[in-house]
């Protein structure tokens, strides 16, 4: 649950590739973005909530990254920059599709109150094998998608994409203490929603608990 340290070789390699792309070797852009496809798509999906729109947003984000590559500052991390572009693209798209309700960052109450977790006396671990089941996967997807935006984006970046607290703060243009508070609340909100659902699945369908 701690973010991996950035690999200096990777960063150097990216910087070299970016310089070459800007100098005209544009085909290298394919290689530059390959390690980031999944992160960009997951960020887009957590906003758009359907695969087709998420794919569209992800494609647009990569195209914008290519068109604006000359504005990328070397002191930033390429992955963080890409995520910011993806976020903007997803938010603009949601704003344009007036049919999709969006939570305004300003309108959401900021870090007020506390989240009470789901109370339970014992917890039998749900193993990762449970994710082979579509209903469990959908349960988790729905829970992430239902988080208010300010919590969802922090959770996706920190816990799903393994960005550090500082990188998350940078990508979202918020303070480090805000990242920590929002992450804490997001995690407890997910616990509160998912624990009763996961428990009911595990008691009605016991085949993946055959050892118990």
């Amino acid at each position: 649950m701690t973010a991996p340290q950035p690999n200096p070789d990777e960063t150097k390699n990216e910087a070299t590739m970016i310089a070459s792309i800007l100098a005209g070797q544009t085909q290298l852009f394919h290689e530059l973005i390959r390690p980031h496809e999944r992160a960009v798509y997951r960020m887009a999906l957590s906003y758009m909530k359907n695969e087709a729109d998420a794919e569209d947003v992800a494609q647009e984000a990569f195209l914008k990254a290519f068109r604006n590559l000359s504005t990328f500052r070397a002191e930033a991390k390429f992955s963080t920059w890409l995520i910011s572009i993806t976020l903007n693209e997803a938010r603009n798209r949601l704003r344009r599709n007036a049919t999709m309700p969006t939570d305004s960052i300003d309108a959401t109450p900021e870090e007020g109150g506390t989240v009470t977790p789901a109370l339970l006396r014992d917890w039998r671990e749900v193993p990762s094998e449970a994710l082979e089941r579509a209903e469990v996967k959908q349960m988790l997807q729905r829970a992430v998608a239902s988080l208010p935006e300010i919590y969802r984006c922090v959770f996706v970046l920190r816990d799903m994409e393994d960005l550090s607290v500082n990188e998350t703060a940078e990508a979202l243009c918020i303070s480090v203490p805000s990242v920590k508070v929002r992450l804490h609340r997001a995690r407890l909100m997910l616990q509160k929603q998912l624990v009763p659902e996961l428990k009911s699945v595990s008691t009605t369908k016991r085949r993946w608990f055959s050892w118990s």
Partner: protein, 82 residues
Amino acid sequence: MVIECKHVWDYISDYLDGTLSAEERETVQRHLEHCELCSAILDSTRNVIILTADDRVFELPAGFSDRLHARLDEELLNSNSS
């Protein structure tokens, strides 16, 4: 120092990330040793985070990469010819 359950919940996230001070960690740990409720909340939160972060939850749709790179190719060709 003895703390109540609801104060322990405030520390869950930092506890999982290993960012509590030595003293706070010790206090939380001592509480967890005798509190089934907080132990179950901690374990279930950790479990939920691990499951949600698993790559299988939000998989790339089939053909995603091919479609993306085909679209990029069009863009790259245009940029080279312009």
